[in-house]
Each structure stands twice: as structure tokens, then as C-alpha cells.
């Protein structure tokens, strides 16, 4: 398969994932569609192109790991896992419902394919560092991927973990910041003193790249570049659009947590293509 076809395929999958997200949130009457849309292209690339995984053996010890540190975006991950075959697509109807395997935030013991529990913000990188150190100690070749929101990297623990990753020269750790410029309470600029993001990671001695987080080719190339690192952890800052994929959602932060109307669902089906 050539690169062009590969990318077309990824685009189709990510459209399906976005539509799944809409259906899940619509049905659950609760959830975070905007943040899930923002990270959907990365999750698509990781699960359908990059990661060494076996859906029949979710706890395979040599598998690549993924931590969705911005766990509220989990509908995107649940859809990807179901579409990979970790569990039935029917489970997607259960999002946030009592007794369902799909919790409001990722749970490693309830959902096959979730590598670690996550969701309270700022915690994923630490756990990723632990997984990457374990790989070095056990002489395993797996990669650990972690996706953080730009809002959540305001948490101090992120920077404790960032220090630790560079101390241990974790070139088997590839982290992403979904830099869509928004957080729950408003724009990153207005709410926090975080900006600019890039020099902070550089100062913590990480290998850094900044790419378009909705361009599959750039994501693939950036991961390939990150894997060339010999003695540093890698940070790939994804310039993204919150709600990317549906015009009425893009950059409208009210979609951080919001349920679509029936009309918006119809529009989503039209734009994202349906099955």
C-alpha cells in the first residue's frame, strides 16, 4: 500500500471515529466531543498505523503502550479500540452508563485495551515514565506513547515527570501535547500563564517537534523522527483545532462538554459519511 492510500484509509477511519464519538455522546447525553475530535487523528494514526499491539491479547507484555492522559477525550479511544477489535462495537452504546465497560474516563481493569487508568489531569506522563523505565530495565523494545492536553500541562506533576524522563534518557517515550489552545474554562491564554509551550519542553531537555496534529503524514513522520532519538524523550506538539471535523464545533469551546442535538447529529452523519 502506498503512502497516499494509507493516508486516505486513516482519514476514513478518523471520520468514522468522529462519528462514533458523536453517537456515543448523543446516546449517553454526556461527554466531551470537542477534546475527543481534537485528538482523534493522533489516536487513529497510533492504533491503525504505528502501534505494535494485539487486540486478541490486550495485556501482551511486549506491546506498545498508549496513555490518554487527557482522559476525558476517551470516546475517541473507545471507538478506536472497538474498531481494532478489542471489544464489540455494541459496547459503544454503553458509554458512561451503569454497568458498562466504558467508564467516563479510561479504566484499565474494565476496558480491554486500556493500558492504564487515566483521566484526572496531569497524571499520565508520570505513569508513562514508569512504563518506559520498566521497558529499559526489562530490556523490552516497546514504545510508550502518551497524549496530554495543553490545559492539563499546567499541572505541576507533568513537569516532575518531564524532568524524570530526561534524567533517565527515555528515548522509548514519545509524548504529545494536543495544543488546541482551549481548556475547560476558556482559552489557554486567558486562563493560564502556560504559553509558550515549546521552549518549556526544550528547557526540560526533550527532543521537540511541532506539527499539524490533523495531518497524518506529518504525524507519521514525526513519530519516525522521534524513534531516532538516542538519549532523549520526545515531545511532539500537535497544533490542533478543538472540535476539528465539524464546522459548528471547531474552536467553539462550548463543545468542551456538550451533547449534540438531533439536527447536529444529522449534520455530522452527512459530513463524516456514516458507515
Amino acid at each position: 500500500m502506498n503512502v497516499e492510500n494509507d493516508i486516505k484509509k486513516l482519514q476514513t477511519i478518523s471520520d468514522h471515529i468522529r462519528l462514533d464519538i458523536m453517537k456515543m455522546v448523543y446516546e449517553a447525553k454526556d461527554g466531551h466531543p470537542g477534546p475527543a475530535f481534537s485528538i482523534a487523528d493522533l489516536i487513529t494514526t497510533l492504533y491503525f498505523k504505528e502501534m505494535k499491539i494485539d487486540p486478541q491479547n490486550p495485556r501482551w507484555e511486549d506491546r506498545d503502550r498508549f496513555i490518554l492522559s487527557k482522559g476525558h477525550a476517551c470516546p475517541a479511544l473507545y471507538s478506536a479500540l472497538a474498531r481494532k477489535g478489542y471489544f464489540s462495537m455494541d459496547e459503544l452504546h454503553g458509554l458512561r452508563k451503569l454497568g458498562s465497560m466504558l467508564q467516563g474516563h479510561p479504566d484499565m481493569n474494565k476496558t480491554p485495551g486500556i493500558d492504564i487508568t487515566s483521566g484526572s489531569l496531569g497524571n499520565g506522563l508520570s505513569m508513562a515514565v514508569g512504563m518506559a523505565i520498566a521497558a529499559k530495565y526489562r530490556k523490552k523494545s516497546y514504545y510508550t506513547y502518551v497524549a496530554m492536553g495543553d490545559g492539563e500541562i499546567q499541572e505541576g506533576l507533568v513537569w516532575e515527570a518531564a524532568m524524570c524522563a530526561s534524567k533517565y534518557k527515555l528515548n522509548n517515550l514519545i509524548a504529545f501535547v494536543d495544543h488546541n489552545g482551549w481548556q475547560s474554562g476558556g482559552s489557554i491564554h486567558d486562563v493560564s500563564g502556560l504559553l509558550p509551550v515549546l521552549p518549556k519542553w526544550q528547557a526540560f531537555n526533550w527532543d521537540c517537534q511541532v506539527i499539524d496534529g490533523h495531518d497524518f503524514e506529518q504525524i507519521i513522520q514525526a513519530i519516525a523522527q522521534a524513534k531516532k532519538s538516542t538519549d532523549k524523550p520526545s515531545m511532539i506538539i500537535l497544533k490542533t483545532i478543538k472540535g476539528k471535523g465539524l464546522s459548528f464545533m471547531e474552536n467553539d469551546n462550548s463543545w468542551h462538554k456538550r451533547v449534540p442535538t438531533a439536527e447536529q447529529m444529522e449534520q455530522a452523519i452527512t459530513v463524516l459519511g456514516g458507515e
Binding site: R65, I116, M127, G130, R138, T144, E160
Partner: protein
């Protein structure tokens, strides 16, 4: 006979032996290697000594990641920095996912923090840990019991919190007495006037109080409660039914620790008159280890008085 200077040395001895048997065992330090007296472990197993620096939340997060990848991390640092500063990481990323992380908190109680003052005296750790589902909580009484508690923790598949001291601990137990997780232990049965429940590094004080009381013809059953979770409810209930009055002794705030545990069992199954000896919900201060206990309500005389009081209540005087 094995001799340790204190619980920290006993911890290091135990984890070093565990590491020899099991390559999954690693030690995670938050710049606490020296404080844990674990330098020899790091020298022997440099690739199994993970140093995250002064960053306790990260030490817990990293340990969760290590455990998820099949390792058995032991985090050792100050009790309050694990249970308070990194409380959420312990609760959400170790306890909730039931990861095989062992948490060892030193300076447990005011006896152990002593001259450092309140910043390093931790008397809420057990209350905090008790409030989290699914964590085994071990409160060894001395260095010998610490050694066995660490060994026992390694046999448990899941999170364990072990309270350790700072080198002041008095030996109460013989070196070869095992640590039985989830069981109370009757240390001395002078009689059944009052049940005297104690745990941790003030157990020696309870032993001495029991002896003094015996000379005044008040005969207690002295019980060590070294596991707060899972709790030996039936064992405690049987003691309460026998003695029909109880005093608890703990180096912890009287809220949330051993006093609450015994009170809970009592109100549920066998109501008795009770008094709680412990830190009386105040902030303590710096001082010598024995004198801070004496000053803040955990003296031998405090125990004796409490037993005499409940004895009177029991007799309706």
C-alpha cells in the same frame, strides 16, 4: 538474633532479600534513599533503584507505570508525602486500578517526627489510607515486625501501605515472630477487666501500662492490631465480648486510626465503654521523641488513667 537499628534498616534488609529472590522488586526513591537507610540496596542493585528526585507525586505515578508493566515497586519516603502530597496519585492510580505498588511511609506518628516538628510528624496517614478502598494497611510495632511486614507485603497482589518510623523504635517482639496480615495478636492476658488495643511504635508503652495496671489489680488483655485493613473484625469482637470495656492506644490523631477502627467494630457488634489514647486532635510540636508522646496525651500514665476510667464506667461507678 537479628539486630536492626530501627524499622528503616529492617525495611532495607527485607527488600534486599526480596530483590535477590524476585527480579520484579524495585525501589523507588523521592530523594529518600538515605532517609530510608537504603543506600546498600542501591549499591547492590543499581538498575533497580529508581530515583525521581524530590517529587513524591511523580514517585507514585512512576510506580503505577512500573507496576502496570509487571514490576513490584516499593516506594519509600516520608509518610505524609506519600499519603498527603501524593494522595490522589495513590488513590486513583494505585488503589483504584489495584496495582502492585508497596508504599512505605517513614516518620509515622509524632514519636518518629519528633524534633523536626509538625511538617515531618505524620499522624493522619492511617486515616487517609483507611478511607481508600482496596489498600492493605500494615502498622508494625517494631523493627522485627517491620522486616516481616515488608516480606508479607510482597506476597500480597495489590497495594499495601506500611507505616515505618525514624529509628527510635523500641523492640517489643522476638526476631522470629511472624507478621500475620489481617490478624490481631493477644500479647498479654492478665485478665478481662479491660481490652487494651494498641499498635505501632508505642506498643512498648502499652506493654508497660498493662504491667503497672496489673500491679494495681486491674487486669487487661493487651492486643496488638498490626493490620488496619483487612481488619480482624471477628477477633476484635471476641475480645470486646470478653472484656466488655476497651482502651485504644495509637501514635496518630484519635480521628481515623485505631480508635475509630475499634469503635466501629464495637458499635456494629458489641457496644462497650471506650477511651482513646492518642494525639487529641491538636498539632504537636518539636521535642524529644519520648517527651512529645508524654506531652501530647500518649504517656504511660495516660494509658493507665484511661484504663482506670473505662473500668469505672464498666462497673457503673
Amino acid at each position: 538474633m537479628v539486630e536492626y537499628k530501627g524499622t528503616r534498616e529492617a525495611f532495607t534488609q527485607a527488600i534486599t532479600e526480596l530483590a535477590a529472590e524476585n527480579e520484579q522488586v524495585v525501589f523507588v526513591s523521592a530523594d529518600s534513599l538515605k532517609a530510608m537507610r537504603a543506600t546498600s540496596f542501591a549499591e547492590k542493585y543499581p538498575d533497580r533503584y529508581i530515583e525521581v528526585g524530590i517529587a513524591e507525586q511523580n514517585s507514585v505515578g512512576v510506580s503505577a507505570g512500573l507496576a502496570s508493566a509487571g514490576l513490584m515497586p516499593f516506594i519509600g519516603t516520608y509518610a505524609g508525602f506519600i499519603t498527603m502530597r501524593a494522595c490522589e496519585q495513590v488513590r486513583t492510580f494505585v488503589a483504584y486500578p489495584h496495582l502492585n505498588v508497596k508504599l512505605v511511609g517513614i516518620n509515622g506518628g509524632i514519636f518518629s517526627g519528633e524534633r523536626e516538628g509538625v511538617t515531618h510528624q505524620f499522624f493522619e496517614d492511617l486515616a487517609i489510607m483507611r478511607a481508600m478502598p482496596d489498600v492493605t494497611i500494615l502498622v508494625p510495632a517494631d523493627a522485627h515486625q517491620m522486616y516481616h511486614a515488608v516480606k508479607a507485603a510482597a506476597l500480597i497482589d495489590g497495594p499495601v501501605y506500611i507505616r515505618a518510623g525514624s529509628g527510635r523504635e523500641h523492640l517489643v517482639y522476638e526476631a522470629d515472630t511472624p507478621f500475620e496480615v489481617g490478624k490481631i495478636r493477644v500479647l498479654k492476658k492478665y485478665g478481662n477487666d479491660v481490652a487494651l488495643f494498641a499498635n505501632g511504635f508505642i506498643l512498648n508503652r502499652a506493654v508497660e501500662a498493662a504491667r503497672i495496671l496489673n500491679e494495681s489489680n486491674i487486669r487487661v488483655t493487651l492486643v496488638d492490631v498490626p493490620t488496619l485493613k483487612p481488619l480482624d473484625e471477628s477477633g476484635i469482637q471476641a475480645i470486646l465480648a470478653d472484656c466488655k470495656a476497651a482502651v485504644t492506644v495509637e501514635d496518630h490523631n484519635v480521628i481515623g486510626g485505631l480508635g475509630d477502627v475499634i469503635s466501629m467494630v464495637s458499635t456494629k457488634s458489641y457496644p462497650v465503654f471506650m477511651e482513646r489514647v492518642g494525639l487529641q486532635d491538636v498539632f504537636p510540636s518539636s521535642g524529644g521523641p519520648e517527651e512529645v508522646l508524654d506531652r501530647y496525651g500518649i504517656s504511660i500514665q495516660d494509658i493507665v488513667n484511661a484504663v482506670k476510667n473505662v473500668c469505672k464506667m464498666k462497673r457503673g461507678i
